[in-house]
Symmetry: C2
Subunit: 399 residues, 2 copies
């Protein structure tokens, strides 16, 4: 029997996957499981996007241009221009979700053995794309005491080696909800200029910024146009995760030409998803206002509920719809499994994402979890009540 | 300015891309260009599939399971069972087109530096996936004199090294239209057993077998269940290339578990495409009969027209909708460019795919082109007339 590859062996499994069988078993027992572990919003996809599908007249669903339909890229360019991001449609490659954008960026810019520095905790699937590309993620730890702000530039610089090819950020951040300030992004500008690095900026949560804070994009930086690679997706913006439409955007012509070769090999991004994504650009302002109000209500409710629980600390996130939260338990991997396997309160329980999977420094995140506030406030309220009760009785509690 | 990767530099560009600007220029001049160069059929997508989109009730387009919706995988398993392929839904990973299936298979089974042997000419994008995975494609030449039959097993065995991890075939073949016989597939069984290799079998043209010939799948082989990896796609089967739905199928549990980790990193395959693909499984028999009759008519017309032209040889393909054809010219790269740049007949010209891009042995295929018979017979007739006239006057003709 032929053997799988070493690369395949070293591919990380999702940190949440281990818990899935326990969640399924809990449901089989008739238990209600509140999913605080995933980034799948319950918000409706804009009607204008769903209508575009119904009104589709094509009789043959054909390949699109490998970089995406030109009509979509032109509309997308206008969307960015309105945000003060000066790009045109030739600087966009439409991808199968933000996922493919990250993979194309890694493969276009880095060779096996090269290194990319990123603040941890970070989106766990970066590990998978790094493994696929053979590159190494070098973490620099951001701390819950600082509400996960950018670590000091001096700490980042310490990690730079001969092998370093770039810095990667997710802004607003998954899993912390932290929104990087303009000042922090400008600090990164200095370091990428000084060391001639790429800046990979994953901005898929751009629309989710709260408390009047403005999003400052890496594409707003001047004089580093050839360094910055924007990774984007419509999944969260329009609550259409399943269409699998993202984009790699850069003014660096070599990177564009190279990423296009990867794009051409796989022929085209999803065609139906592009129809939906193109129509979504016309989503009315009102839709976003409603979404904004809904998330603010959920966040405020959740942050208050969590911080009332003894020993719990939840920073107030300024963006996205996650928070990385400190819990008074021995080990959040064990606690999360226990919640599904052994605990119930009024026949309910909750599923959490243990934060250890978002750190690459061993041992970190053991008393943290990522909580996604993607449930309506009714369900969120029941989930918080359940979590509070669980923390009172969990055998491994630390207070 | 940071530099792109060596991997990116070595990514091959599509062999047809060089010709695209010339085709665009010809169209700008008002010339009708017949596209014999691409595998985009003009056949309608089944109505049942288009209706499924119109009838979609979902209000949120959510992520699917990373391996694909279970309902789709269950229907797909029944489709394969009817073909005598004994698999169940847990042995299927739904992918973003056949492209992603090839990439996942290469990355799951091979490490950088490993080798996979494949008959040449072969589908040019295998080169891109091989480069992405860091693996090397070792060609073994199939010959137009043999109508591109499987090269002798002794020739294949000569190519096996310490680094060889698998053999890859495309059956029916793109770019030759050759349909491998049961006997040839059984010969491959012996060699993969003897040398403990994977057999990657790309069968996306399975439904396109002519003259009463039956398709014999690599999955029909017995005793090599852990060696065989089936790569599939609905793109050609239902003329829905744009939905980007394919599948990796194997009974090898290690490969399945590994490919699933790559699938989980990118979250899910296209959701709307899965709705279309699932509905497509119910396409009535009559649809395929019509498609079959249409392609038979096109093929017979084209083969006869080509073989009437002095110095041209077109094998009669038993499958897919391509033929690799010998032309009496000095260099088909030059000829194809000349057709677009300098030639016109009744203000028409044709675009061909030079075969050099389908060979990896330097110098081969210089007097061959791939022709796709994806035009209706009216257009095909005009294209053939135009090509015949071109061959009479091309300055680099060899007869």
């Amino acid at each position: 029997m032929p053997r799988i590859s070493e690369k395949g062996k070293s591919m990380p499994a999702s940190p949440i996957r281990k818990l899935v069988p326990y969640a399924e078993e809990a449901k089989r027992k008739g238990r209600k499981v509140y999913h605080l572990n995933i980034g799948q919003p319950d918000i409706h996809t804009p009607q204008v996007a769903l209508d575009a599908l119904k009104n589709m007249q094509e009789k043959v669903i054909v390949y699109s241009h490998s970089a995406g339909n030109e009509s979509y890229r032109r509309k997308l360019a206008v969307y960015y221009q309105k945000l003060g991001i000066n790009i045109d449609h030739t600087e966009i490659i439409v991808t199968a979700g933000g996922s493919e954008a990250v993979l194309f960026a890694f493969m276009s810019c880095m060779d096996p053995g090269d290194e990319v520095i990123t603040p941890e905790p970070f989106y766990a699937n970066y590990n998978g794309f790094a493994t696929a590309a053979g590159v190494k993620i070098i973490p620099v730890t951001s701390k819950i005491e600082d509400d996960f702000a950018l670590p000091p530039i001096s700490e980042i610089e310490k990690k730079i080696s001969r092998k370093t090819k770039g810095i990667m950020i997710c802004n607003p951040n998954n899993p912390t909800g932290y929104l990087y300030t303009e000042d922090e992004i400008r600090q990164l500008r200095e370091i990428i200029l000084k060391h001639d690095l790429f800046l990979f900026s994953d901005e898929v949560y751009r629309e989710f910024c709260y408390d009047g804070e403005k999003h400052f994009s890496a594409m707003h930086l001047e004089g580093v146009e050839d360094n910055v690679i924007l990774l984007d997706s419509v999944s969260k913006r329009y609550s259409e995760c399943g269409v699998r439409i993202g984009a790699l955007i850069t003014k660096n012509k070599d990177v564009l030409a190279t990423a296009l070769k990867f794009a051409q090999a796989r022929l085209s991004p999803p065609g139906l998803g592009q129809i939906v994504a193109e129509a979504s650009v016309d989503t009315p302002r009102e839709y976003f206002d409603n979404v904004y109000n809904e998330y603010i209500a959920r966040r405020d409710f959740m942050v208050e509920a969590l911080n009332k629980m003894p020993g719990v600390y939840c920073p107030k996130p300024k963006g996205a719809f996650y928070s990385t939260v400190k819990l008074p338990v021995d080990d959040t991997d064990k606690f999360s499994q226990w919640l599904l396997e052994e605990f119930e309160y009024k026949n309910q329980t909750v599923m959490l994402a243990p934060a250890s999977g978002f750190y690459s420094t061993p041992g970190l995140g053991r008393n943290e979890v990522r909580i996604a506030y993607v449930l309506n406030t009714d369900d969120l309220s029941k989930a918080m009540e359940t979590l509070a009760e669980a923390l009172k009785v969990y055998p491994g509690r630390t207070i």
